[in-house]
């Protein structure tokens, strides 16, 4: 689905990336621990998180995350918005909690960027 559809499903506010809403997304990863995002999230996925600091943008840049969805109605910090604009990573904010956000996207066809963690190293 497009990021525009994600925005509508989540009744989300767009903070960065008004011009990138046509991008296609198929997978997502949700966590507040950036070390786990680094370990498990896949490129091209949505990042669902409750954090609002610039590290969510840095982490997304390192992994080529498609867009960031901030949950629980939080708003990105000004320095987070600035960095996201610089690196051209869209940021949306939704009032839904993480569980609801994930559930609403899942029922519309977005799946996890991986189902289960594997025993062996799995880099991509």
């Amino acid at each position: 689905m497009t990021l525009k559809e994600v925005k509508e499903i989540l009744d989300a506010e767009v903070f960065v990336g008004h011009d990138q809403l046509e991008m296609e997304v198929r997978t997502a990863f949700g966590a507040d621990l950036m070390s786990d995002v680094l370990a498990f999230a896949k490129s091209g996925s949505l990042l669902l998180t409750g954090l609002t600091n610039p590290q969510i943008v840095r982490t997304s840049d390192v992994l080529d995350i498609a867009a960031i969805i901030i949950v629980r109605g939080k708003r990105p910090l000004p320095e987070t918005i600035q960095l996201a604009e610089e690196l051209q990573i869209p940021i949306l904010s939704t009032k839904y909690i993480l569980f609801e956000t994930a559930g609403r996207l899942y029922t519309k066809g977005i799946v996890g960027c991986l189902e289960k963690v594997s025993e062996k190293r799995d880099f991509l």
Binding site: S35, L38, A39, N53, L63
Partner: protein
């Protein structure tokens, strides 16, 4: 270091210690550089992740530090060298879940004791040398192909 002879790229990046203001910007630079060298997505991803975690550690704990990137035809060698408090018990520090992070570090989404474990998992070879009161040296080697 004779086994790494034939280095065709070498660059050192200073990292500001005890500050999150620019945390991650070296990793972004390293990633862009490696992409320009047309390394595979997997290699770029792994190198970016280990650089980022190492950079976060320097920003979290050290007074100052640097990240040294070397690229040879067969290997990527990333050294993260800092002057700082050092690690008294490396075995304990390597344990998943063990952390000495402050609230500030945790608020940034780190400090859950996963950083060094991530670095180890994403490297082909990982070595850590540390001296209390002096600093820490992480060496990460990623095989290309």
């Amino acid at each position: 270091m004779t086994s790494y002879e034939g280095t065709n790229f070498k660059k050192s990046f200073p990292v500001q210690g005890k500050s999150f203001e620019n945390a991650g910007h070296i990793s972004s630079k390293v990633k862009a550089l490696l992409q320009k060298m047309r390394l595979s997505n997997e290699i770029v991803r792994r190198a970016s992740v280990v650089t980022y975690e190492a950079e976060i550690n320097i920003c979290s704990y050290a007074e100052r530090g640097k990240i040294l990137l070397r690229v040879t035809p067969k290997f990527l060698i990333i050294d993260a060298i800092d002057e700082g408090q050092g690690i008294p018990d490396i075995e304990l520090a390597m344990k998943e879940g063990y952390s000495t992070a402050t609230d500030k570090i945790r608020q940034m989404g780190f400090g859950a004791g996963m950083g060094l474990a991530n670095i180890k998992n994403f490297s082909d070879t990982f070595r850590i040398i540390s001296e209390v009161g002096k600093g820490t040296h992480l060496k990460m080697i990623i095989r290309i192909n």
